[in-house]
């Protein structure tokens, strides 16, 4: 069986042996990187610098939340705002694997820059089992290049440290609970962020649409779960499908985009069942999204695909 306490003890002593000097942790504010940061922070203290990159593809209010988290954890941290860079790099890019690779490489280049300034030689990442499994390599087919594995450039100067490599999300959550981290129940959010929740080019305008739609889906589903109307899903969000359909808005013709609602139940992300969201809740989400995004979005669909054959995220 997996024992969180034993894992914590063993990992901290391994980290103390492995890391000689300063280290940088790629900090997204999710469960994996937060657990990792807490462990490494215990192991090497102020020798650790947490770096959070705002890619411009973060969720609503996320940059502020993440900064608060880094402060609360007592981390030595840097917050880097790089939205313009990312939007520029993804201009005209539609292919999902290309998006992931560009984002992955950009992360590393930013970390390398910080590492040079701070004389750091180790990069700590909260990589977990599904990240490297799905990224493929050797005999394994590439399902998608996770930004922290398949998205890494071939040549990089930093040494990788990945203490959670053999863990699945449910085990990481156990470790988070044992460390009393409030982030333990936070839903997963992919490193490439909203960029892979936009089918096609991830322009700043489209990002605004999907950001708003994701916020509405999160809010309505969290409310419904708290009221006991449904089980809180493992992951729940919106996807922007830039396919236009016809609608009618106040006696006028509308011609806007489509948003898909995605919510799944899982334990470890390796298999997922789509969530059964009550119709009233779907109704509330649909009305709120179309009324908020008005002429930009006039159709909402509900994704009823399991994994396999689908994956959780669409790209």
């Amino acid at each position: 069986m997996f024992h969180a306490e034993k894992f914590i003890e063993k990992t901290i002593s391994n980290l103390q042996r492995e890391i000689k000097g300063k280290a940088l942790i790629a900090f997204s504010g999710g469960v994996d990187s937060t657990v990792c940061a807490a462990l490494v922070n215990t192991a090497i203290g102020k020798q650790l610098i947490a770096v959070h990159v705002d890619t411009g593809y973060m969720r609503k209010n996320e940059p502020e939340q993440v900064q608060r988290m880094m402060k609360d954890l007592g981390l030595n941290y840097r917050y880097i705002s790089a939205s313009e860079d990312y939007y520029q790099a993804l201009k005209g890019i539609e292919e999902p694997e290309k998006k992931r690779k560009i984002i992955g490489e950009k992360f590393i280049r930013i970390f390398e820059q910080v590492a040079r300034e701070e004389h750091i030689s180790y990069l700590v990442q909260g990589t977990i089992a599904p990240d490297w499994i799905e990224s493929g390599g050797g005999l394994r087919d590439t399902i998608k290049s996770h930004h922290n594995v398949g998205g890494l450039p071939e040549h990089m100067t930093l040494k990788l440290v990945e203490p959670l490599r053999d863990l699945y999300k449910d085990e990481v959550r156990k470790v988070a609970r044992a460390l009393q981290l409030s982030v333990s129940e936070r839903q997963p959010f992919p490193g490439p962020g909203l960029a892979i929740r936009i089918i096609g080019e991830a322009t700043p305008e489209r990002t605004e649409l999907v950001r708003e739609a994701c916020a509405i889906v999160e809010k309505e589903i969290e409310r419904a779960s708290e009221q006991g109307l449904m089980e809180r899903p493992w992951q729940y969000f919106a996807v922007l499908i830039p396919i236009k359909t016809v609608g009618v808005h106040g006696d006028k013709r509308a011609y806007g985009n489509t948003i898909a609602i995605r919510a799944v139940q899982s334990v470890d992300a390796m298999t997922c069942h789509y969530s059964t969201i009550p119709h009233d809740v779907l109704d509330a989400i649909s009305t709120k999204i179309t009324n908020t995004l008005k002429e930009k979005v006039n159709r909402i669909v509900y994704d009823v695909t399991n994994k396999p054959p689908g994956t959780v995220e669409w790209e």
């Binding site: 005999l139 394994r140 399902i143 390796m270 994994k307 054959p309």
Partner: protein, 197 residues
């Protein structure tokens, strides 16, 4: 682990499956001494330590089209312990012993109901006649190899499970290692019991 409580050692042969690591995790969670081993490892090297069983993982290779799967043939020819083949591992086992594997007319992905065809198989102890399993396959076993019997079927796939009682070799088309397969853990427990001998 030491003392009189002998630990069972079962290795997972990695044929490149998405769920190879899940097989490792399920065994570890059941207190088995386990590790993931590349399928190119010679049997002799595997047996440097005493092992009590092997799991042949699934993988992307199309067994319906290709004829080799690392050193799996060597394990099947010479093993003196139970072997559990899953998905591609199952298909390879069937093909190796003279059965047939073909692309599925209706490939199955995700949730499927299987029905047991026999009620006394030790691998399915405490598993009800009908249960939910999860699948992910493009090919399937269409003709049983000699000395194997069919244990389970589904609407779209005639051989969901097969077994050879004497050598305790088993093949499963579905995936007992994933969380969503209803009696997956029970099947692993039963396999561990077979390996304990």
């Amino acid at each position: 682990m030491s003392g009189n409580d002998r630990m069972v050692r079962i290795y997972v042969i990695d044929n490149g499956g998405q769920w190879t690591h899940r097989e490792w995790r399920t065994l570890r969670d059941l207190d088995v001494d386990t590790k993931i081993v590349p399928n190119t490892t010679p049997l002799q090297e595997l047996q440097k330590e005493e092992i009590h069983g092997l799991v042949l993982s699934g993988g992307a290779p199309r067994i319906g089209l290709a004829s080799t799967l690392g050193n799996c043939a060597e394990y099947l020819d010479n093993a003196k312990f139970p072997i559990l083949g899953i998905c591609a591992g199952h298909q390879f086992m069937a093909r190796h012993f003279g059965g047939e594997v073909k692309p599925s007319k209706l490939p199955e992905f995700g949730q499927v109901e299987i029905t047991l065809c026999v009620d006394d198989d030790p691998l399915f102890t405490s598993v009800p006649k009908k249960s939910i399993v999860w699948e992910s396959h493009n090919d399937e076993v269409t003709v049983l190899p000699k000395n194997f019997r069919k244990i389970a079927e589904s609407d779209n796939c005639v051989i969901q499970a097969m077994g050879q009682l004497k050598r305790q070799f088993y093949g499963l088309q579905f995936h007992p290692e994933v969380e969503h397969t209803q009696y997956g853990e029970q099947i692993f427990k039963n396999f561990i019991n077979l390996c304990k001998g």
